[in-house]
Amino acid sequence: MSLVRPPGPGKGEGEAGGRRGRGAEGLLLDIGPCLRLFGGLERLAGAVAADLEAQGLAAGLAVAPTPQGAFWLAGTGRPPPCPDLPALRASLDALPVAALDLSAAVAAQLESFGTRRLADLRRLPRAALGRRIGAATLARVARAYGELPDPRPDFPFPPRFEAGLDLPAPTDQAAALVFAGRRLIAALAGWLGAGQAGVAQCLLHLVHRGRPATALLLRFASATRDPARLERVLRERLERLPLPAAVEGLLLAADRVVGLPGRSGGLFAGGGMDGEAMAALVERLRARLGDARIHGLAVAAEHRPECATRRPAEGVAPPSSPPAAISRPFWLLARPRALAEVGGRPWYRGPLHLLAGPERIESGWWDGGEEGTDGPAAGDLRRDYFVARTADARWAWVFRELRSPGGWFLHGWFA
């Protein structure tokens, strides 16, 4: 058993190593069955200590065969681990009676007849002692020494994550805020990991003095609980965020979690993990290039070539409509390029040979003159499209404009 016992609120540094007051909070970990999984007691204790450090918690830590014994021992700081009951009893014997959290009157009474350590207490007659300090306390002592069973209820994780911290000094430096935010992210990742869940977004409040907090919504390309990804997005967003005032504290909240069970990777192939890796890559590219420069591809049900391509956010393309069987070019020029006409034929670095067509594509009056998402809408069309081969044997898609003033245009390449 291991016990982690942060000092209660308001306890100062002066008490370090001494007794903690009443109401000190603790966390009991049943580590007996999982020691081998974590590579032994030393490594597990080291990992717990490192996690505490990452979260900025000062805590005592003790390892003992009984939960109550570990709890009391942790109140003394970080004593050496007790691997078995005799070692635990020896350690407990040396504890001051004050570790029992007795009322001041009882403590004074015990002190008055020379009972300073638990060893002294245990030498007193049971029945008389029970009348003085209460049967409950006596039972706790017996549980600590492993003489009574000590079942404990499981710890339920809160259904909603919310954690905050106060900055040691107000700051508007992104780097300092990211550093502080790392603690919250570590806590969030732990909370998500315990629930086998991930978040696609979470909300960070930046608390200012005397004005409403700035809310910063962090979105992820896919649900995740990877602290590195969470932190990368946090840093990217904080660096671009204009702050109205210095920040005094941070509050991180997440309530919309989605199930994210662990997956087993394939033995030979990369397994199903490349979706996660791909999302991380997309996030990294977006951080530097900007959101608009990375997109997915989807087919829109539209007969006009300009309108047949949509750019959804990557990876969320809905099932496309069945593609047409007619030939369409892979590349569609951003704007049709006007071609010269020589001797009645379109000309692109030489005469174009028209191989198939015409394919009439027309109408589209419904969005004429409106502004679309990618500039002016295509509007009404009236074109005859041809598959053409250039003089240097390249395959092009050209059209002849049927509305005045007419003319030939290059619109795509059959790459």
Partner: protein, 245 residues
Amino acid sequence: MNPQLSAFLDRRPDVWRGDRFAGAPLPAVASGHAVLDRELPGGGWPRGALTEILMDGQGLGEMTLLLPALVRLREEGGWTLLVAPPHPLHAPAWAAAGVDLARLVVVSPAPGGDALWALEQALASGAPAAVVAWSATADARAVRRLQVAAAAGRGLAFLFRPARAAAEASAAPLRLLLAAGEAGDLAVDILKRRGPPPAAPLCLALPRPVRRHAHGQPLAGAALRGPAATRPLRPAATRPVHPVA
């Protein structure tokens, strides 16, 4: 060579012989063109290595050349990433060719910007099953960096460069020069591969938008006259396509 020695060496894939293809450390992805596969070490596009494709302009059938491999990746559920394509993509053509659009990501950095950086990130991450990139500015040093990044992953990596780069040394283990061949074919000249020096350029008959026998007979007459005389081959104009529920 002594037949006994030859037989012995045949049993040792870790010994490379100058007249054979080097054994590829990762299984190659068949290109889907039997003529080409015969000439590629491992019988296809190499995984975990940069493949340079040199050509000028577009429209020779360069994507049609790569498509069978990209479609094969769809069966494996892998992602395809396009970096700095020369023109916007026309989604219906890609969907019709069998590419899984839901697993296609297009990166279009600002001109002259971070295309090589993005490409290196993508290769080093190992996340996409195939990366296809275009760069006119990559030099020998950049290509070396990209090859190192590609070697860390196990995906396909294609880099399109201008044909003039054929004269430069390159760290890419496979280099192809594309040109227009006879009768609409694609001429593929293997400039460099792991194995014996390649012979004459290959001629690949790729599926093109028009059947082969039509190549020699350009449209003429009515189709080329003014709008008034136009009589489309299809009686009705292309109507809006409605999605099937």
